[in-house]
């Protein structure tokens, strides 16, 4: 337990001391939020009874979780695998599984304050007012369901060369953001894009939150897709890890 705590704190410390990481994860969702704020009529209904101003906050929360998850794993992980640091850790008492588990956990830890920050912006400038219980429910729901984003970041770090990791992450941020309906409501997109959105985790992440605020029951389909992404990506990471293990030091 102690080894996990030592390594976990080290990993988290690395994230929180990296101003580049903080600038991107805090800056992107907040600046996008500000840019979109003046765009629409805030009261226009977007999803059921949910008005534009609430849709926007939820979307920016999703986008923030996506950006945080991708960047927490991503480039950093890819880089340290290339330098041989990940290999060095394998010859310490740190259990093999804990490397990936700690990375995902650290990503999840930084997602939470990003969600809260966007919500604060929403309450202060975005005209969003919710009951205390709803705020808590919304935050917890969006946090737990951000797991596929955290795993996706680690996945990119595992699969992509450090030099291409940054562009890949940037593309993923905007593809998942735009086509997942975080910048423009999916209902306002052409029908083929509406269909395409349904295969993206970002769409299901924000849809769950919108459903909560709209008073719907939380559709099992959203959960299913998010869980499938989390499990599928995790399996590929484990597989990749096994292949590398089977090569030993070579």
């Amino acid at each position: 337990m102690n080894t996990l705590w030592v390594f976990g704190r080290f990993e988290l410390g690395r994230l929180l001391r990296s101003w580049k990481f903080l600038a991107v994860t805090v800056g992107f969702p907040v600046i996008f939020y500000m840019l979109f704020l003046g765009d629409h009529t805030p009261g226009k209904l977007i999803a059921g009874t949910v008005p534009w101003r609430v849709y926007l906050m939820v979307s920016m929360c999703s986008f923030g979780a996506l950006v945080a998850g991708l960047n927490a794993g991503g480039t950093r992980l890819s880089g340290e695998r290339a330098t041989g640091w990940a290999r060095q850790l394998r010859v310490t008492p740190l259990p093999a599984w804990s490397y990936v588990a700690t990375k995902v956990t650290a990503s999840m830890v930084v997602v939470l304050p990003v969600l809260i920050l966007v919500e604060v912006v929403g309450a202060a400038f975005g005209g969003v007012s919710l009951g205390a219980a709803t705020w808590v429910e919304l935050t917890l729901l969006m946090w737990v369901t951000a797991l596929p984003f955290a795993i996706l970041g680690v996945f990119v770090g595992f699969m992509v060369h450090p030099e291409t990791a940054y562009p890949v992450i940037t593309v993923l941020m905007f593809v998942l953001g735009y086509f997942g309906g975080l910048f423009t409501p999916v209902s306002q997109m052409p029908s083929f894009l509406q269909t395409a959105a349904r295969i993206l985790p970002s769409f299901h992440h924000s849809s769950l939150a919108l459903a909560l605020l709209d008073g719907h029951t939380l559709s099992g389909l959203h959960w299913l897709v998010l869980a499938a992404y989390a499990a599928g990506l995790a399996l590929i990471i484990v597989w990749r890890h096994r292949v590398e293990e089977s090569r030993g030091l070579a």
Binding site: T3, G84, R87, P93, P95, G248, L249
Partner: protein, 354 residues
């Protein structure tokens, strides 16, 4: 991994079924740990009860990557406190041996014991430290403070050395506040050495540790490694530089996944620093040439004479002293790679003792 007591091996003893390229006495004299398989006398009695304090034991270990056999019934025992060099060309099985020792690979057959338990267990208990071969980077997490990284690794161990002791042993004091990505090759190497010893391990593995070092860093490195060994730790290092093997008390040469030679470092050095003298002499007496100081082998082709010698200077002096009329003398320089190839070739030519 279950421990399988070693039965008298059905395999021929390595040192016996290969004509040894080593000067006589190599395998016998090498038995500093009193129990490596090279000696038939101790081979059969080579069981766990003989040495409960063994650091390493490979028994008939086979490892295959698909169809390629990397370790071919490898047998190797190392006592605690030994400093062992594992020498071999690239692809000989050094890396696989290290991977198995570190618990990264599980052999398909045979058994491996590290500090009386399985490699993984020994690693998890924090009794093993390792410095790995340098890959494309410097082996450290980019952008981090050196002191933070070393201390984090140190704290992963159950009974680590104190931070101050770790810093002192690895001479990284001036580097503690530097960022890992600003270190020179030699500095990064010292930091990785600090990481290997931070847990106060009983057993230290160094895999091609000096590959990227300059001469000065190397000297510092071997001094620090020597200190580890003097403190009673077992040190095992893999290298393909023969001149580095002399830092070890014992050298094991691996080729094609087998131990092909095993002996004290001095003997190996003598074997590999052998020089080849060529000259032309009329009517030279082979029996005189054979008795020259340092000579291990004599070859005559008409007037051409080729001598292999462990001490070229002494041989030449003796040539003059014995009045052998020679001309066109050539002494081939330190052909370490060539000698090394001779040691690791499949059918090494028997070398005559001088």
């Amino acid at each position: 991994m279950s421990h399988r007591p070693q039965t008298p091996s059905t395999l021929p003893e390595r040192a016996e079924d290969h004509p040894s390229p080593w000067p006589p006495g190599a395998t016998r004299a090498g038995a500093t740990g009193s129990r490596h398989h090279g000696s038939p006398r101790t081979g059969a009695a080579d069981s766990k009860t003989d040495d409960p304090h063994g650091a390493l034991r490979f028994t008939d270990v086979v490892y295959r990557y698909g169809r390629r056999v990397a370790l071919d019934h490898l047998n190797l025992s190392v006592s605690r406190g030994e400093m062992l060099a594992v020498l071999g060309p690239n692809g000989a099985g050094k890396s696989t041996t290290m991977s198995v020792l570190l618990g990264l690979l599980h052999p398909q057959s045979g058994s491996v014991e590290v500090l009386g338990t399985s490699p993984r267990q020994a690693m998890a208990e924090g009794r093993v430290g390792a410095m790995l071969q340098q890959g494309s980077g410097n082996g450290l997490p980019p952008g981090q403070r050196v002191g933070t990284v070393v201390n984090m690794v140190r704290r992963l161990y159950r009974r680590p050395a104190s931070f101050d002791v770790t810093v002192e042993r690895s001479a990284i004091g001036p580097l503690l506040d530097r960022r890992t990505n600003t270190l020179s090759g030699g500095e990064a190497q010292r930091v990785r050495f600090a990481i290997a010893i931070a847990g106060d391990p009983e057993l230290v593995f160094l895999d091609e540790a000096t590959a990227a070092m300059d001469i000065e860093s190397r000297q510092t490195f071997w001094r620090m490694t020597g200190e580890l060994s003097q403190e009673g730790r077992t040190v095992v290092f893999a290298t393909h530089h023969m001149d580095e093997a002399e830092h070890a008390g014992r050298v094991v040469v691996i080729n094609r996944g087998r131990v092909v030679a095993d002996g004290p470092a001095g003997t190996l050095k003598a074997a590999v620093t052998s020089r080849r003298l060529r000259f032309v002499a009329d009517h030279a007496d082979p029996s005189v040439l054979d008795q020259l100081e340092g000579v291990t082998d004599v070859e005559m082709r008409g007037r051409g004479v080729v001598l292999d010698s462990l001490d070229a200077d002494a041989t030449v002096r003796d040539l003059v002293r014995k009045g052998v009329a020679f001309c066109d003398l050539e002494v081939a320089g330190a052909r370490l790679e060539e000698a090394f190839l001779a040691l690791t070739s499949d059918d090494p030519a028997p070398r005559k003792a001088g």
